[in-house]
Amino acid sequence: MTDLQVNSKLMDLTTAVDRFVQDGDCVALEGFGHLIPFAAGHEIIRQNKRNLTVCRMTPDLLTDQMLAAGVITRLVASFFASGSAGSLYELRRRVEDHDPEPLEVEEYSHYGMVCRYQAAAAGLPFYPLRSYAGSDLPQLNTDIRKVTDPYGGGEIYVVPPLQPDVTIVHAQRADHLGNVQMWGIVGAQQEAAFAGKKVIVTVEEVVDPEVVRSDPNRTLIPSHAVDAIVHCPGGAYPSYAQGYYDRDNLFYRDWTAISRDPKLIRSWIDRWVYNMPDRAAYMEAVDDERWASLQVATKMSGAVNYGQRQPQH
């Protein structure tokens, strides 16, 4: 066997989640509107993980689904809605009516969350930011604190590091060694990955290491930060993967009606998560016409010249 095969981090999703996600863990699932790790979230539901703390800047449909499945007891987040698609009713029922039980919430602003990952990734005790002066957020969340600037600039708010037991992200492609390339909106995935004790990355494509090495600047998460690479085409659906397929906006809008009804959301999870053996089965079950409507036309980037040493004569 070559070194390349020995060092392979490829495994299937069932194995990766079973091996790296334990009950009671703190799990970050990042992806800002783009590359949301839906397949991995569904696998966590399917494996009946319990008592998870989920960290996610923008809890959206995926978080609503994981809440309804009873996976999450604590949520660390900064935006509690689904963008233009509206309210997350399972989340609202948990917070407003404690139905079926209360939800522990730890709340920051977006930049506060980014700084928390950055602090953990860089091994810092806290990270300062110029937000929160006069806000009620520090009163709601006493982990948002003030320190005195040792260089005389007054006081500044700081946030604590956020080190997840496991960070899970989805990306366009990786090689089997674990070098992960992504493009388009990349959010806080790099910071979250470096912050995590263990890292699972699901990808649309597994490519030859030569492909990665032809464009190393596109590798946002290098192999040494990754524990598992999972080949998972469509793994971000119904969110999107730039250059692969677009977001299913219709499904996002439909979610409002599904999540408004506690019975409906649970039967949705039965049908689309528990009754699906894996992601391939889910993608197979997505309506062909719907899937076809999400395909994108090609728009290639211009190539860049990395250069190489001239051959010696």
């Binding site: 935006f79 009620d136 728009k299």
Partner: protein
């Protein structure tokens, strides 16, 4: 333009809009962007306003989205700040640390466009909870980037779809994004960069804060609106600007652009 009605499928749009039409709010908001350079836009009416302003008044207006996209040149209407259409053809896509840290907190954003459930007289915004935050009646989306944008953008423009006592209370139930007035009072030793809210556009008129440590006052009133309606819908004793004027009707060119090119499916124009 002679023909003031345009027909699209079975729907007829009128280029003669009134203050009750979304087109009115958007054109008013777009005019506020004249002379501005780099604008942090959210989804919905701000998306339309920024697009219209770029086509009509400020070709160099740079659209920045909190998803990391700077200098967006979308080929279609974005359904959200992370829409793929904003990425293709854009000038730059940054990670979150670069966008919030370097671009926003570094002082490079002139205008932030925010929505809110509640705005008070100082321009404090609530996007978090209605009722007691520990046991809320309504769980709203929360800060997202709003607390960060308020702290670091040069100024903030707010668009409200309602002008009533619940949207403009004497005091917000929860202060997600504080004005410099409140920041100075509660955290006097923490430096604050931004001016805070400069402009609030409501369905009745425009409120402005001329002074960084001052309060909102009525600067423009929409045609056909009575003072009583504005005062009855505002939770404090709203001052009226010495230079109060009546807001100009949107031009038919602006309305036509919105209806025919920017949002032909009336995705946000509702």
């Amino acid at each position: 333009m002679n023909n003031i009605n345009t027909v699209r499928g079975d729907v007829t749009d009128s280029l003669e809009v009134t203050r009750f039409d979304a087109e009115f709010l958007v054109t008013v908001a777009a005019r506020e962007l004249a002379g501005k350079r780099r604008v942090f836009a959210g989804v919905g009416l701000p998306t339309l306003a920024v697009d219209l302003a770029q086509r009509r008044f400020e070709p160099n207006l740079e659209m920045v989205y909190e998803s990391g996209v700077c200098g967006a040149h979308p080929e279609g209407l974005a359904e959200g700040i992370a829409d793929s259409v904003l990425v293709s053809g854009s000038e730059s896509v940054l990670n979150m640390q670069a966008l919030f840290g370097y671009v926003l907190q570094g002082g490079n954003v002139d205008v932030g466009f925010l929505g809110a459930a509640q705005v008070d007289r100082w321009g404090n915004l609530n996007t978090s909870f209605i009722g007691d935050p520990k046991n809320p009646k309504v769980r709203l989306p929360g800060s997202g980037g709003a607390a960060d944008i308020m702290a670091s953008a040069g100024e903030i423009i707010v668009i409200l779809r309602r002008h009533d006592l619940s949207a403009l209370p004497a005091e917000v139930d929860f202060c997600t994004s504080p004005s410099p007035v409140r920041a100075r009072e509660k955290d006097p030793n923490v430096p604050v960069n931004g001016f805070g809210v400069s402009t609030v556009i409501t369905p009745l008129g425009i409120l402005r804060r001329p002074d960084r440590y001052g309060e909102l006052e009525l600067a423009e009133i929409f045609p056909g609106v009575e003072f009583d309606e504005v005062h009855a819908g505002t939770g404090w004793d709203l001052k009226v600007s010495e230079n109060l004027r009546t807001t100009a009707q949107p031009s038919q060119e602006d309305v036509a652009l919105l209806q025919q090119q920017i949002d032909p499916d009336r995705f946000y124009l509702r």
